[in-house]
């Protein structure tokens, strides 16, 4: 994806008060460390050159970790620059609950998976649905106005941080 798209993504995240770190694979452990609030739980990232091995993130997720972890680390299959949206592709590793239960969600997305807009995600979604799979557009943090004022952090995370992993040269 073009640098413009990633820049747009960053500015959308900024407007949502969602932090964003750009790193190459080598810098990933440090980037993760900087935003991790332990204890942390995660699922495999499936991104070349990037792994949770050797980080404080515990895998695989268990019910106790879902309840007690401060941070959940997952990949985002795609991201949408226009709205700062993360496309969380639910799968058998537990990407969906790990991105949902802990108070902080750290999402890791490859630079080339940052798409300009919702329309550009149609093919990705269409293929997933056809294969019986599920995805979530997650934009910003969980919030509610139902108690008479806007409150962040309801059933989902109160903090979200995105790590964009740049392409290998």
């Amino acid at each position: 994806m073009s640098t413009d798209t990633v820049r747009r993504f960053e500015s959308s995240l900024d407007a949502l008060d969602v932090g964003c770190t750009r790193t190459d694979p080598a810098g990933f452990p440090d980037a993760l460390d900087a935003v991790l609030d332990p204890p942390a739980v995660g699922v495999p990232l499936g991104i070349d050159g990037v792994s949770l091995d050797g980080t404080p993130v515990e895998t695989p997720p268990t019910p106790r970790l879902l309840r007690e972890a401060e941070t959940g680390v997952t990949p985002a299959g795609k991201a949408i620059a226009e709205y700062g949206t993360l496309v969380v592709d639910a799968d058998a590793t537990g990407c969906e609950p790990v991105s949902l239960y802990p108070p902080t969600h750290v999402a890791v997305v490859r630079e080339r998976d940052v798409l300009p807009d919702v329309e550009a995600a149609t093919d990705h979604l269409g293929a997933r649905f056809a294969a019986g799979e599920s995805s979530v557009f997650a934009t910003g943090v969980s919030s509610t106005g139902d108690m008479g004022a806007l409150v962040e952090g309801v059933h989902g995370p109160k903090h979200v941080h995105v790590i964009v992993v740049e392409e290998e040269p």
Binding site: D91, V118, T122, F137, A149, G153
Partner: protein, 735 residues
């Protein structure tokens, strides 16, 4: 119940809601509404996507039986079950059977209006299943044992203080709750425990994709995600109308729904599940085993609910309701709703303008009887609706049907002769009087000023209030002895000769300009002539706006016919039609589409102009603004009419006043609150004044001139502010 007592009961209910819920509803709905304007204005694709969404819905409803079968195959291929329920009882029977099979003790739900419609909570509880609403708004209502007051914000009639008081009373915390944060944290933890323990998760569905079996849920809290994915068994309940053909069709709706609902670019979570989902099962009783390692298996049931929808599909007028995506924009953009909320403006389940379609479709017209009149036809919801449903028309059609269903009124004989309409016996007397305003106006002018003295006398006002529910706190319009048409004839017609004139125009003598506000008509003539327009004012029937607004569609149709017959020949001869009353230009442009043959409507709509729109066009085409009155340095507060704004006509008045040098301040309320006859009605007088308060607050400079285009806005402003009110054209007319 007598009509008078019924009106007093209604007035009392509205008064109570204005006092208890009005402020919170107003605060919340106006924020949604303002945010909607903001977000849609900066979204370039808005109009194109509305068209696309509309087309997708039209196609999907057309092909519904076939799509249901395709969806069934998709769901079953995924390993789930689809049940098509005929009605609420059938749906509830299926859901309770699923719960029984799962030996469910508890079920957690995310927000779903369809589940409210079928009262599934009661059905489950009767079978011993504990049901918990996990959307915080719904949870508040569950604790309070109240009904939703809004499609999207079910508890938005409650303030933080209300919720704190409720929770402190029910849950008796050691330290009483005060802040929204404390309340949210408590509710989240309380419900979090119930979600972990639940045997079944129930959700609704905003959209259901036929070719993959994917259901889409749009939420901000994350509770739908948790409810769907935490228990092994997921039951989704959705109306049959939620089906769209394929994943490709999802994008317009995902883009539109959050913008029109809450004014967000996109909601926090757009969850697209193809159940049973791949996410591992979660067994909180085995906390240290990896997710998915137990012997639990995911199970999914999609319960599609008919409950009247297939009949709606066959109903030419109610059918459009099925395109509704339940975003609530029609409620948020509605001045009456903003003040009184869904506990008045709503039926058994649904709220706001579109509620008339839903309630009538599900429960029969009678189900909409109590609130249908709160739609004044102001049309502010028309451009707000993401799927372009003509919500005022649905309200008018249902009103018409209700009119026909009512018993003949005992007082009908009193007004015989005053109500020469096309309606069958049984139309409420109040509606009948307002619907036949033209006849009253003709008689009023003929007998003025005596008619005005009699009408404003105390005994007459008392009688009008008692018999017809016309509130005695309102001043009645005063009829002019000399009508505009008579004045124009008496002066010898147009002072600009036809030969050599810049344009030739018919000034339509709408019933108000002809009989009541004749000065604005005379001013319009002077302005047009100053810009070298040859003017004609033939006598012509009223537009039918008055009967239309009372749901007297046959009468309105007859009027439209008459107008078209009268003005058509002028249009054919190359005349433009200029209209002073905005509700009438809106009638020609919008409502006549329903009342006249297509070509006649198109021809009249194409050649008709609102007066300021016409003047704007003249000035743009070389007309000299110096021929108008110089307004340099004069401050004007201008309120545009609701229907005028919907037609995109507000800007012309502002531009023309600007061109003449006036310093213009505009209002941005959706409606003045008078809305034709609405504010005259005894049962709605207080609501009307409450709505007007928003407008009053916008115009604080008592030294500014006050102008409004609509007759009823003029009357309302006259009651709200201690200033004279004129039509803008009166400000522009050379002296």
């Amino acid at each position: 119940m007598s009509a008078g007592r019924e009106r007093r009961r209604k007035a009392e209910k509205i008064r109570h809601l204005l006092e208890t819920e009005g402020d919170a509803v107003h605060e919340n709905t106006t924020v949604f509404n303002e945010d909607r304007y903001e977000v849609t204005e900066r979204f370039d694709d808005f109009e194109a996507l509305r068209d696309e969404a509309r087309a997708i819905k039209e196609d999907a409803i057309e092909r519904l039986p076939e799509l249901i079968e395709e969806l069934r195959e998709s769901v079953e291929a995924n390993g789930g079950h689809l049940y098509l329920a005929d009605d609420a009882a059938d749906a509830n029977r299926y859901v309770t059977e699923v719960a029984a099979e799962e030996e469910a003790e508890t079920l957690v739900k995310s927000k779903s209006m369809t589940s409210e419609e079928i009262d599934v909570n009661e059905a489950l509880e009767a079978e011993g299943v504990d049901v918990w609403e996990t959307d915080l708004g719904e949870f508040v209502l569950q604790v309070a044992d109240e009904a939703p007051s809004h499609l999207v914000g079910p508890s938005l009639h409650k303030t933080r203080e209300d919720v704190a008081e409720l929770f402190n009373h029910v849950f008796e915390p050691e330290d009483p709750f005060e802040t929204a944060e404390e309340l949210t944290e408590f509710a989240r933890d309380y419900l979090g425990e119930r979600i972990r323990d639940a045997d079944v998760g129930m959700t609704g569905a905003n959209f259901v994709v036929a070719d993959s079996g994917t259901i889409t849920l749009v939420t901000n809290e994350g509770n739908a995600r948790k409810s769907a994915v935490t228990p092994d068994t997921h039951v989704a309940v959705a109306g049959v109308e939620k089906i769209i053909p394929s994943a490709d069709d999802l994008q317009p709706f995902v883009e539109l729904i959050s913008k029109t609902a809450t004014g967000q670019d996109i909601s926090q979570y757009v969850t697209m599940l193809t159940p049973p989902v791949d996410s591992p099962t979660i067994d909180f009783d085995a906390p240290d085993e990896p997710l998915g390692s137990g012997d639990g298996e995911r199970d999914f049931h999609l319960v599609l609910v008919d409950n009247g929808r297939f009949d709606m599909r066959e109903d030419e007028h109610l059918k459009e309701t099925l395109y509704c995506i339940r975003c609530g924009a029609c409620a948020n953009s509605c001045a009456n709703f903003q003040h009184v909320g869904g506990h008045a403006f709503g039926g058994e389940t649904y709220t706001g303008g579109i509620a008339t379609g839903w309630e009538a479709g599900i429960g029969g017209e009678e189900a909409a009887d109590d609130f249908n009149d709160l739609c004044t036809g102001c049309s502010r919801c028309v451009n707000a609706c993401p799927v372009k449903i003509d919500i005022p028309w649905i309200n008018t059609v249902v009103r018409d049907r209700l009119n026909r269903g009512h018993d003949p009124d005992a007082f009908d004989h009193l007004v015989e002769g005053l109500t020469p309409d096309e309606e069958s016996a049984g139309v409420d007397l109040q509606k009948r009087l307002f619907g036949n305003f033209e006849t009253l106006a003709e008689l009023g002018s003929k007998t003025a000023p005596l008619s005005n003295w009699v009408a404003s006398s105390r005994p007459a006002r008392a009688l009008l209030e008692r018999v017809a529910g016309i509130d005695s706190r309102r001043e009645l319009p005063a009829f002019e002895r000399e009508t505009l048409v008579e004045w124009f004839d008496a002066r010898g017609g147009s002072r600009v000769p036809q030969t050599g004139a810049e344009r030739e125009a018919v000034l339509y003598p709408d019933v108000y300009t002809n009989h009541v506000l004749t000065e604005r008509g005379k001013a319009a003539v002077r302005v047009l002539e100053a810009l070298d327009v040859h003017v004609r004012i033939p006598s012509a029937p009223s537009s039918g706006r008055a009967p239309f607004s009372q749901g007297m569609v046959a009468t309105a149709e007859a009027k439209a016919r008459g107008v078209s017959d009268r003005l058509g020949p002028y249009v054919d001869d190359g005349y433009d039609v200029v209209v002073v009353e905005p509700s009438d230009i809106a009638m020609f442009e919008r409502e006549y589409e329903k009342l006249l043959p297509g070509d006649e409507h198109e021809s009249l709509a194409e050649h008709s102009y609102e007066i300021a729109e016409y003047v704007y066009g003249l000035l743009e085409n070389g007309g000299d603004a110096a021929a108008l009155r110089d307004g340099t340095g004069v401050a004007v507060d201008y309120h545009s009419h609701c229907q005028q704004r919907t037609q995109g006509l507000e800007g012309y008045t502002v531009s023309v006043l600007d061109a003449a040098g006036f310093d213009v301040t505009t209002s941005d309320v959706e409606c003045c609150g008078m809305a034709g006859s609405f504010g005259y009605k005894q049962e709605y007088y207080e609501l009307s004044m409450d709505v007007g308060e928003d407008l009053r607050e916008q115009f604080t400079d008592d030294d500014a001139l006050l102008a409004a285009s609509g007759t009823s806005c003029v009357e309302q402003l006259g009651d709200l502010l201690p200033r004279d009110v004129t039509h803008p054209v009166q400000l522009l007319a050379p002296r």
